[in-house]
Symmetry: C2
Subunit: 471 residues, 2 copies
Amino acid sequence: MTDHVVSVGVDLLAQAVADQAAPVSQVDWRPPLAGTEDDLATVALDPLRGAANADALERVLGVQAVLVDVLPAHEAVGLERGEFLHAGPPIAWDRASGPLRGALMGGAVLEGLVDTPEEAAELFEGGLHVRLEPCHHRRSVGPMAGVVTPSMWMFVLEDPATGARTHCTLNEGLGKVLRYGAYSPEVLTRLRWMGEVLGPLLQQVVRATVAQEAPVDVTAILGQMLQMGDEAHNRNRAGTLMLLRDLAPAMVSSGTDPAQVAEALRFIGGNDHFFLNLAMPACKLALDAGRDVPGSTMVVAMSRNGTDFGIQVSGTGDEWFTGPAQVADGLYLGDYGPDDANPDIGDSAITETAGLGGFAMATAPAIVRFVGGSVPDALATTRRMQEIALGENPRWSIPILEFAGVPTGIDVTRVCRTGILPQINTGMAGRRAGVGQVGAGLVNPPEEIFPKALTRLAALTRERAAATTPS
Amino acid sequence: MTDHVVSVGVDLLAQAVADQAAPVSQVDWRPPLAGTEDDLATVALDPLRGAANADALERVLGVQAVLVDVLPAHEAVGLERGEFLHAGPPIAWDRASGPLRGALMGGAVLEGLVDTPEEAAELFEGGLHVRLEPCHHRRSVGPMAGVVTPSMWMFVLEDPATGARTHCTLNEGLGKVLRYGAYSPEVLTRLRWMGEVLGPLLQQVVRATVAQEAPVDVTAILGQMLQMGDEAHNRNRAGTLMLLRDLAPAMVSSGTDPAQVAEALRFIGGNDHFFLNLAMPACKLALDAGRDVPGSTMVVAMSRNGTDFGIQVSGTGDEWFTGPAQVADGLYLGDYGPDDANPDIGDSAITETAGLGGFAMATAPAIVRFVGGSVPDALATTRRMQEIALGENPRWSIPILEFAGVPTGIDVTRVCRTGILPQINTGMAGRRAGVGQVGAGLVNPPEEIFPKALTRLAALTRERAAATTPS
């Protein structure tokens, strides 16, 4: 808890001190989020909190994510015909945003449940033969709409120390792609090629790397990426190249038709975002290890379905704390503008939850040309995120900040106490189903979800205190 | 010319002003190099100078370097049996340093001129059947010892606008390699594999990219590298990965035995410095376009043979201005220390001459773990190099400096006027023939070569003035 309690913003305070001609260093200090004072005081006194957060953070930092397999979703996470995974907290069709609806419609056609996207809309409105479930509930994450259907191939990541696994689909590229809500014939043709050629080839190649005891070490590649201008959310260029480097020899030796191998190499090499779908499950694998530590105030998931933004917290189990997803502020493709953009969507904020993405922007100044903002902003953002993080990740260091580790472990109490919200950088989907990507930008979670989580943490603290008080 | 003429260093001056309690911003200003005042005054009044430097710089910045072929040196630059190219200004065996001797000895065995490195030493001491020549005199550059023999394969780079070409051998990797002066059996075995497998495969693949009108654009890759933490002298990690990305599909489709293709992919992917041998000739191709502009004070080559450090200047033709090569200050491999290091060697300072390497260190802060120094030093170095450069290269920008172009076009007059010497980062060869690499570090040219070049520029200025003065 802070020693200062004032009811005005820092600008007024600084001005007041300056008016008295006293020296003053202006800092980015604001009062705690309104109405959180009592809960903050309760949680601050929780005897479990310090050790619980240290334990949760240590568990997260100890995870190594290795690429061990590539499997269709029905094998990887047991997805059955008619089941659809999606990004974000739970939601039904009636509240689903345009891009999520578009991706679901395209997914239904891909699975042969219907013949046209239009019929698919009727299918989902009826609701009898389909079932929606968050990716996060199946040890998975999905970028943007995050729609996963049984036939889609998924990367399988594993922590060798525990055998824990997470999953993510293969990245389609940018523009008119399913995860941005597009479902035109070109989108489905690409997905079918990924299902028939790319997925099986990658399975064979990844299994070869495992058999050679040289599996792709995603956690280590992420460490290298941060030295190469990637923040691993909206820049995954170096990561994609390192993945190509690690898989290309086995692809050549796979016995697959060289023309198909060359096509796969061109597809991956032509999509700087390909590695995102490995970065995300690596972050989830790490954060899942920090779940369910009683008393821990550490955020273990931030996620959006295009309508709601939700977080989960270590000390509060599987409960989602949600509020309205915001529209990002950023740069638009072509003639698109703010009116075309859907509110924030995707499980990709798992990267920020693990200290990458917006939290690591200092190491990726070139990203301001993609998501907007300025280079000084990018540096300042990482420093600001240090204020709400429990610690740093020594495996993921930022050279320009003299090799400081990325700020890791968002602390609900620090967010409430400082009013500093996590900074996310993100792609922007068109708000109408079928449009696809319209831009990329910067966005925050809705402020209210952190006090909601804090209230629950405080309630649990009080329950524990009552249970241990001698009667 | 500066308005300030003082005879004391900046520290004393700043202290003196501070003692008088006047506000002072300390700047890195020093008096001109001793004895250069008259020549500086002469060259400053040369009516050609301003336009000549603008012209020379514009020519350099206009060059695009494209990879058009891979050829054995006897085809690429007409090298005959018994001819050896080497890095740096001209030198004979009797003054050659250990690593240059070691590389020449290994090269003689590789060519079958002798059976053992020991016999090779006698061959070079005799001198009858061998001929040494700088790489630079054959439109080529070579890293470290820079030894090229007729059977070694070379990259061929071309500027499509002019058809001008430059060349460089294929990179062997780090450690025990010929260019660092090692000549053990493993070194020669690797060179033979490069000659028999890698060179012919790359020739086939590069010719395929040219036939498909999609040749590797080395200049564009260099632009991307600067956004990915490479400064293109001692960090070429992203560049190597992008080269792999661009060549891998054609390698797969080449019809070559997949086992050999996989081996080549592993060799290139396992050597983060592979792209250096494309960065260097790209820089030379650009700088060669800036040669021979009368009145231009721009440096067009900085190069070292392990004994002498030499520069060539646009306005002074092919003349070398030389002084003793310095020993770098840096980090050592294993148990090696300063006593094991040879003085500065290699044509690779062509990267600094073109604005990369030490001049671009701000964009590659991770390099301080390889060459020494600190992250703030890396940033300060690029800013300091701006003081002696004629301009910036907009194609090669540094994100962390808000996308400023790399400082390009070292101006002899600015070096003499400010005393700021070009900053080079470099590998360090063992001083005894046969040792190989011992470390990497930071080094400067010997100060005296810039006043030497200035004196010649001043003499030419006076000649021109005399020729145009009405008699």
